[in-house]
Subunit: 245 residues, 2 copies
């Protein structure tokens, strides 16, 4: 089974507090960038991998999706999703995303926001996503950028005496594999893959790459959170849109 | 007109000495990786952008290409190419690669090795390459990796007391544009583009991305040049194969 980080109580509470902040990276940078790549969802069947609190699932329903399935390995997350983001067209399941072959439907869009860097076997995930997509279907996902996941050891920024970030300490970019990082709690497991590995896995599985986005904060986002200017040195996430031709 | 770095005498002599070394990065890492992506060249028409001393042009001829055109902005480079890498199927021209619309042929393969990071207007270059390719034609090129071209200011590695490279000082990755670096001489102009910009330019022009390679040294290459182990921290070049569908 995959890591179930979000059912750790300490982690869960701290993560929820972060996401509840109005001005976090996800809301200000990642979400506008990935949403800009959504197709017209009218009548489509959508699967959200690592749906978390389900806010994207309700958004997909509002955009006209005929059916939305949100899966997350964390029962705590799905409990919140069912309370806060229920909808007539939405179905939630506590499920490891590696288990999606068990789902009875196929989908027109498979979506995932900032979850796939937790997946150990990316090639297998891409294969089962491909099988679960209808012809012409879209895979749209964000994950931590390989530049961000690369270093095995921190601290990852070099700062000047005033605490300003001068540069990002990049190491181990070409060394695929597990990384243990501190994020609210010790020993969070992530998987680093160079960007070429991610892209070639998609292509060799049968996907056509349609768009690759390294999102930047807007002027408005920079005013709300000035430290997002660091994104110009080192981008935190990557968004990929790929088509099953 | 584009920068004509290689006609600078001081630069040219130092560059030639580097390339004459048996164990340089190009020979040990970049060349095997890009050559591995070549199609069967039998009967094909090939254009080499920034052909330099012409060694790839003779290789293409040996691999069966029907016609090879090598262009380089540097007359010094083309002089060497004509002496050292002449061939019945090879034609050399002193030409800025932005001027390829003047060529009368179209091509089945347009190739470029470690030259395109000198090009200011990448979108225009991709457009004229696309127009010069036959349907189904291939663009295969390497260039300095965006991680490598990103920083505006050096030094770019942080070393320990013994001089070992600990990490690469990444900055300005998301800031596209000109970079002035020291490479044999001061003020060498390069152009940095984030990887997403490179890929999306290719895709929006009409190319399908077939392969993206961040090459690593082989065990044999590491034995010949142990300092190539730094490539595991920060890859120096990227190779892209794209198809005109």
């Amino acid at each position: 089974m995959s890591q179930n980080l979000f059912d750790n109580s300490e982690f869960f509470e701290k993560y929820k507090a972060l996401r509840d902040k109005a001005y976090n990276y996800n809301n200000l940078v990642e979400q506008p960038a990935i949403k800009a790549l959504l197709p017209d969802l009218s009548g489509l069947k959508v699967l959200d991998l690592g749906c978390g609190f389900g806010s994207n699932c309700t958004d997909f329903m509002k955009r006209g999706a005929a059916h939305v399935v949100g899966v997350d390995i964390s029962s705590k997350m799905i409990d919140v999703a069912k309370k806060e983001n229920a909808g007539s067209a939405i179905e939630y399941s506590v499920m490891d995303m590696m288990d999606i072959p068990k789902l009875s439907h196929t989908f027109d869009l498979i979506f995932s926001s900032l979850a796939i860097h937790y997946v150990k076997d990316f090639a297998h995930l891409v294969k089962i996503i491909y099988e679960k997509l209808n012809p012409g279907g879209i895979l749209l996902f964000s994950q931590e950028h390989p530049i961000t996941t690369a270093p095995k050891f921190g601290p990852v920024w070099t700062k000047d005496d005033a605490g300003n970030r001068l540069y990002y300490n990049l190491a181990d970019y070409m060394v695929s594999g597990e990384r243990h990082v501190y994020w609210f709690i010790d020993g969070v497991e992530k998987y680093h893959r160079p960007l070429s590995e991610i892209l070639n896995t998609l292509i060799s599985t049968g996907f056509r790459i349609e768009k690759v986005v390294e999102p930047l904060p807007s002027q408005d986002a920079l005013e709300k959170r000035p430290e997002l200017a660091d994104e110009f040195h080192k981008t935190s996430c990557i968004i990929i849109k790929a088509i099953k031709d």
